[in-house]
């Protein structure tokens, strides 16, 4: 048995070069499978390829006139991504302003802005926070060390840290009425789910195959990259009953987001910080009229 030289990197390349047909036959002398040099295209779908190939800049426009402040986006995002009780990936800022009866309600749906100049990415020591395909600000749980520097750097407060084991509610064994009701843990086991009864396995497609999170790592919105890479809209966009969230590629000249951003003046949160956020807001929650007047002296 001839020993091929070295296990060094050069040695490996040598190895590769030297696996010729003759070399193969020699291997097979040991009754071993023929080794072919067939390359398997690994895990890159058509959709994924096109996300990288044309360098998309995925963004979201939120039309405040269509937004009713109903919160379906917040809830359905939690549903899709198995976000635990107490955490949100999509959220809102709301307040009541003015003095009765001249009062208005302000409501702004919020989410990770997938900044082009993302502070969380810049400070992450391990590269867990990184810019992924489509310019999504993506997280890799495998290399996250939970240092929380990203949370400190993010001006929008959209990152959450798992200080404790998540899904605590569903770990309890206590039934309400012994023998007649179940316990949280029993429900999860009965329906053969992971962590929560309505666990969504779709979330495993990316995020390092993790459909749930665990103690010691951070988490945040990934623009439903697992859906986007499969040609589907982010879940909040799909589930908003009012079609108030519009998704698209800023690099595609005639995308819906560009059409709307061309037509309407928009604002983004904390633009002055230079993060170049990609969540834009247009129009007004309350476009109402008022009686024309010149006022008075």
């Amino acid at each position: 048995m001839k020993k091929l030289q070295g296990s060094s990197p050069q040695g490996q390349n040598e190895l590769k070069k030297k696996i010729t047909r003759r070399g193969l036959l020699k291997l097979s002398a040991w009754g071993v499978a023929a080794l072919s040099m067939a390359k398997v295209a690994e895990g890159v779908s058509v959709a994924e390829k096109s996300l990288t190939a044309k360098r998309k800049r995925l963004a979201m426009v939120i039309d405040l006139q269509r937004c009713m402040g109903c919160g379906a986006c917040i809830i359905t995002c939690k549903n899709e991504n198995n976000v635990q009780d107490g955490f949100t990936w999509a959220d809102k800022i709301s307040k009541t302003v003015g003095k009765f009866p001249n009062v208005r309600y302000e409501y702004l749906p919020t989410l990770c802005n997938h900044c082009e100049k993302a502070p969380c990415v810049e400070v992450c020591p391990t590269g867990a926070m990184h810019k992924g395909d489509g310019d999504i600000t993506m997280h890799n749980p495998k290399v996250c060390i939970g240092c929380k520097t990203c949370i400190a750097a993010c001006p929008y407060g959209v990152i959450s840290f798992n200080k404790k084991k998540p899904y605590k509610f569903w770990k309890s064994d206590e039934p309400l009425i012994k023998g007649a009701t179940s316990s949280p843990r029993e429900v999860v086991q009965k329906v053969k789910a992971t962590a929560i009864p309505y666990y969504n396995p779709d979330r495993e497609a990316t995020l390092a195959g993790a459909g749930t999170r665990y103690k010691g790592i951070v988490e945040k919105c990934t623009l439903c990259d697992h859906r986007v890479k499969n040609g589907k809209l982010p879940y909040c966009v799909q589930r908003c009953p009012a079609k108030a969230r519009i998704f698209g590629d800023l690099n595609a000249p005639n995308s819906a987001v560009n059409r709307i951003l061309g037509k309407y003046r928009s604002f983004r949160l904390k633009e002055h910080l230079g993060t170049k956020p990609k969540v834009y807001y247009v129009r007004s929650l309350n476009p109402g009229t008022y009686q024309g007047t010149r006022g008075s002296v």
Binding site: A34, F100, T181, A242, K243, A244
Partner: protein, 861 residues
């Protein structure tokens, strides 16, 4: 073939490769048999979207549930529905936390503690279905043997249109008059307004996409009832074309997006409506194509404040004096009478004093509304209607639709489109003498008594007076109730003055509760039967309308039931019927066997078949092409079931003009229909209508009783001692009263404007709060003459001064671990019904929730 190491040649090798598959693969390319390698990302949504229906509120949306590996993971609107499409309001998603709620009852239970009371733990233990059903059947048979079947009572809560199986047929065949529904704690008084004007006793739909002005009267379609999913989906566009004015003492969700917020004093809606009508008429803005106009020869040609208009005038034709009507009405009736009796003095200034709104805003809204005619909607919600004198307020607000010609018109208020479901087989042939006799007794809720006209559809005594059934039980008037079955209700939480139900239920010797959770009502039960979750485990159907369409949508089991549960309205009555037959009383099971599968003609042989066949029976004309009558067409039952929903044809605008179900067939401003109904009721009690008005606590006398008019709000308690009026309302996350045990409800409660996460707040205007020395986050008690509740104070500018706004839905002391503070002992938050008195709008039988409760606030130290 043998492999020889020494004799390995290229040929041998290749053959080896071929035969063994080298072995089983070509090196780096795995040859898989059990697997298929996907060189793509795992697909998402590999499961199935299965059709069903949501009953989180009475929008009754058609939905689809996403099922994978036998679990429901998410929900969305059913794209096949023309009413709601794929859009879904937020509350629908909380259904997952209900379905998989660990506090759901998974097996029948029986009570072991013989004492009943709020403080008496029932000591429930699990039992078998067999034991539970046997016990129930024995109790019913006892009644039959003693000829006391009228002491049986059925209480109905959340229903589908399978309801008559348990609510009507079973009650009748057992032989009792006491089927008591929950409708009077819903919004029946709203229906009064539309019935006694346009002859329609039901909820309306609104053609908002074609309208120019919407006035919401105590209705909040962006948060609660009706067809929230649809209105959320189009309201953004509606705002581009229409002005919206919201009449509500609090800044509701709809008010946050409105042009005008009219923060009215509770109970004064009738005043505002009368003033609106006055202004529309004096400004000449009524819609002439519907209402008509002054006779061209009439000496009076316009409406002027304070001026009575004679109904007729004399004119000379060919030397003869002829009487002509001053105003020639087209599709309406009684306009001049209405003006003379009620409207002529109701100016904006007058209304401003009552409503505490500005006269300027009142005029502005009235004129804006009038100018938009006929595309001008008055949307009457529960707010003005579910009050002590609410029937007339509902009439007054709805009558405006008649003035502007919006009734049945493009951009106006519409009724339900025609549909073709059918009733179940009748019970008459299955009533034995015991049943016939038992049925003849008077009902436990006293509907039809002098003080409860309950005038549903013009017939005295035909509307339920739900909350008064407690009185009947407590006083054994007309008789005691010995055996009661109740399903998917929680009257000890959802009815005003809850403690009456606690006492009444404690009195019933044998009470069965069919429920998903051990709620307040369950605390008094002897047997508890676990029910299916309506959205994922049940067969049924309901109807809803919006967008100019009506849909009939199926509730379907999309997964195997999580626990050992049965369907409330079909499977359980069948199982009871079987037990009764075993005891010699087979009328009920024989009746149920009439519900044959229209496809096969087969009678059901068990409860599962019954649940399905009865549904196919009721919806037969919708799915069977041989029976086709209109709307969507299907190739058969399976086609219908797969799509999940049947849509009606488009709305036939103006078809009802001149053909309304009123006495005059016209839109009545002077209601001959109501006059007739009141006369019947008065006659039944050997008295006159004025006496009825006095007895029922209305101010109207004489002919005012027949017209939409202003009645002063009736409140309990002195203004001095109880300075604030309670404004109750419903959350956009309420699934009727059932969301409080969902984690999402608590976590996102601040989606209701002004409310707070994980808390139950009473919102007080800062001006009032300062006077009372209350600050945000103070723990307080709201105390009324009826009772008290504990909650947290919140200063909020969206609350009308003089009122305190607090959401309904929390304050459970049972139901579940999350909903209650300490299950069975301490409540979490405060239940508004603890402080709302049991009072009624007696003309409709409705419970009053709004406008009547005066409270004081006490800070807890």
């Amino acid at each position: 073939m043998k492999i020889s190491q020494n004799k390995l040649t290229r040929r041998n090798f290749l053959k080896t490769v071929a035969v063994t598959g080298a072995v089983f693969g070509s090196g780096f390319n795995p040859a898989l048999r059990a697997f298929a390698a996907s060189d793509k990302l795992p697909a998402v949504e590999r499961g199935q979207w299965k059709p069903t229906t949501c009953q989180g509120c009475t929008s009754w949306c058609s939905k689809q549930a996403y099922v994978l590996d036998g679990r429901v993971i998410k929900v969305r609107g059913n794209p096949n529905s023309l009413v709601n499409g794929e859009a879904s309001c937020p509350r629908a998603h909380l259904s997952l936390q209900q379905l998989y709620d660990p506090d759901r009852i998974k097996t029948p239970m029986k009570r072991t503690n013989p004492r009943k009371g709020k403080k008496e733990d029932p000591g429930f233990i699990p039992i078998s279905w067999d034991e539970a059903l046997n016990t129930i059947a024995d109790k019913i048979m006892e009644l039959r043997k003693k000829n006391e079947t009228h002491k049986y009572m059925l209480m109905r809560g959340r229903y589908t249109y399978m309801r008559d199986i348990i609510y009507d047929r079973m009650t009748k065949i057992i032989g009792s008059p006491n089927n008591i529904s929950h409708s009077a704690i819903c919004a029946e008084a709203e229906k009064f307004g539309s019935y006694y004007t346009e002859g329609y006793w039901s909820y309306r739909q609104y053609d908002v996409v074609n309208t120019k002005y919407i006035i919401l009267w105590g209705a909040d379609p962006l948060a609660a009832n009706r067809q929230v999913s649809y209105y959320l989906s189009i309201w953004g566009d509606v705002l581009d074309r229409a002005q919206v004015a919201v009449v509500d003492p609090r800044l509701s969700a709809s008010a946050t997006k409105a042009d005008e917020w009219l923060p009215i004093m509770p109970g004064e809606d009738g005043a505002l409506a009368s003033a609106f009508a006055h202004i529309i008429l004096t400004e000449g803005l009524w819609y002439k194509d519907f209402v008509g106009d002054f006779h061209p020869d009439s000496p009076i040609k316009k409406f002027e404040t304070g001026r009575t208009i004679p109904e007729e005038f004399s004119t000379e034709i060919d030397g003869e004096l002829v009487k002509e009507v001053s105003f020639q009405e087209k599709y309406t009736y009684g306009l001049i009478k209405w003006w003379n009796l009620e409207l002529k003095d109701k100016t904006a200034q007058w209304a401003a004093k009552k409503t505490k709104l500005s006269a300027e805003q009142i005029r502005r809204v009235a004129i804006g509304y009038g100018k938009a005619a006929p595309q001008a909607i008055c949307w009457v919600g529960g707010g003005p209607a579910m009050q002590v004198r609410g029937s007339y307020a509902a009439m007054a607000a709805h009558a405006l639709n008649g003035l502007v010609g919006a009734v049945d018109n493009v951009g106006g208020t519409l009724v339900a489109n025609k549909e073709y479901t059918q009733s179940f087989p009748g019970a008459d042939n299955f009533l034995d003498n015991i049943a016939k006799k038992g049925k003849k007794h008077k009902k436990i809720d006293h509907r039809g008594r002098k003080e409860f006209p309950a005038l549903k559809k013009g017939k005295p005594g035909s509307a339920v007076v739900t909350n008064n059934a407690a009185e009947g039980i407590l006083n054994e008037d007309p008789n005691e109730i010995s055996v009661a079955i109740a399903y998917m209700n929680n009257f000890a939480f959802s009815c005003p003055q809850t403690e009456r139900w606690e006492r009444a239920l404690a009195k019933i010797p044998f009470l069965v509760h069919i429920t998903t959770h051990a709620a307040e009502f369950t605390w008094f039960a002897d047997i508890v039967l676990p029910s299916t979750h309506h959205m994922f485990e049940k067969w049924g159907y309901v109807k809803s309308h919006a967008n100019g369409y009506l849909h009939v949508t199926l509730l379907q089991p999309v997964i195997d039931p999580v626990w050992d549960v049965r369907i409330d309205e079909t499977e359980i009555p069948w199982l009871i019927a079987e037990k009764l037959a075993q005891r010699g009383f087979d009328n009920l099971i024989r009746h149920y066997k009439e519900y044959k599968d229209p496809e096969t003609g087969k009678s059901p042989t068990n409860e599962k078949e019954f649940a399905l066949y009865s549904l196919k029976y009721a919806t037969h004309k919708l799915w069977d092409p041989a029976e086709y009558k209109g709307g969507d067409k299907f190739s058969g039952w399976e086609d219908f079931r797969a799509k999940g929903v049947w849509n009606s044809g488009p709305y036939p605008y103006r078809k009802r003009w001149g053909k309304m179900k009123t006495k005059t067939k016209k839109f009545e401003f002077y209601s001959e229909t109501l006059k007739n109904a009141l006369a019947k009721h008065a006659e039944k009690h050997n008295t006159n209508i004025d006496d009825i008005m006095t007895t029922c606590n209305y101010q109207a006398r004489g002919e005012v009783a027949f017209i939409p008019h202003y009645e002063q709000p009736y409140t309990r308690g002195s203004a001095a001692e109880y300075p604030l009026l309670l404004v109750d309302y419903k959350s956009r996350l309420n699934r009727e009263g059932r969301s409080a045990n969902c984690l999402l409800y608590q976590e996102l409660k601040d989606l209701d404007p002004g409310d707070e996460k994980r808390d139950d707040v009473a919102k007080i205007n800062p001006v009032d709060a300062r006077k009372l020395g209350i600050k945000t986050a103070d723990k307080i008690k709201l105390i009324s003459p009826t009772g008290e509740l504990t909650c947290t104070a919140k200063l909020w500018e969206g609350t009308r001064p003089g009122t305190v706004a607090k959401c309904y839905g929390q304050g459970h002391w049972a139901y579940g671990k999350v909903a209650a503070g300490e299950f069975g002992k301490v409540s979490r938050g405060g239940n508004n019904n603890d402080i709302i008195p049991a009072d009624y709008d007696r003309l409709s039988g409705s419970s009053a929730f709004y406008g009547l409760t005066r409270v004081k606030i006490v800070r807890l130290l």
